[in-house]
Amino acid sequence: MDVHEELVAPARWRARCAELAAAGADMLDFLAGVDEPGSGQVEVVVHLVDVQRRSRHLLRTRVDRSAPELDSLVGELPGAAWHEREAHEMLGVRFLGNPDLRPLLTTGEMGHPLRRTTPLPARVGVPWPGAFDPSDRPPDAGGTGARVPARPRSRPGPPGVPPEWPAADPAVGSGRAALPAPAPERGRT
């Protein structure tokens, strides 16, 4: 199927979607958003399908990240209500005219989970296992008293976790940290 991509100004968002829907692309596949902290914007994407002509339309717009607002598509495409509700919860985009933007999953205290700056409890609440380095331990010198001098090295961080997120606190977050540790295996192998 042909894909027609276009970027529209937020003011044209609803009108352009209404045009496409009236022209036959009236099947809403999805509406989603992408947080872009680098540009200070949130990109909102809607995918409309014209089933008769077998063509697809990817319509994008960009709204200011600090106060993202966009006209709701509920009037033209009632199925957009759920997707807008999700985008509002996950990215904080307010859809003006959507009558029901209640959160679907979150209770509100963690912010918008798909904002890249929102710390995820599952990452903040658990220490990264990769921080451990066997050479941090004083070596067992086998009775010779020999010590290996510690070498300074750059410490890697967990991939995908922004460095500005708070450090792991075992008291916070998921129940994973509370799981009992497995039995020590030293000497078993």
Binding site: V126, W128, P129, G130, F132, D133, P134, S135, R137, P139, D140, A141, G142, T144, A146, R147, V148, P156, P158, P159, G160, R176, L179, P180, P182, A183, P184, E185, R186, R188, T189
Partner: protein, 102 residues
């Protein structure tokens, strides 16, 4: 192609290099190790080797992506075809060296 049902560890091939632990997207692998001096104890710079103490995969977190198998430089991790068995406790999904051996 063999079945990708679970991941097994050859503990004798593992050098505790931590690459699998650091690459795992779900943080499901933990390992503990210490260093031991090997070779001539009178050498000016003692040579050390890592000794693996424990290696745990939490199958409740693992998404079976196989990145750890791919990145292991010593082929200490590999796929095996039998599935992880069910358990009545969450920590029953945390398998150590003995259960990960094949």
């Amino acid at each position: 192609m063999s079945a990708h049902a679970r991941i097994a560890l050859s503990a004798e091939a593992c050098t505790s290099c931590m690459i699998c632990v650091r690459e795992c997207p779900t943080w499901c692998i933990t390992l503990d190790a210490h260093q031991e001096v090997v070779g001539d104890p009178g050498a000016r710079r003692p040579r050390t080797t890592n000794v693996l103490d424990s290696f745990t995969i939490d199958w409740g977190l693992c998404m079976y992506c196989g990145i750890c198998v791919e990145v292991c430089p010593f082929d200490a991790l590999h796929w095996r075809p039998d599935a992880v068995s069910a358990t009545g406790r969450a920590d029953g999904l945390r398998h150590g060296i003995a259960q990960l051996a094949d």
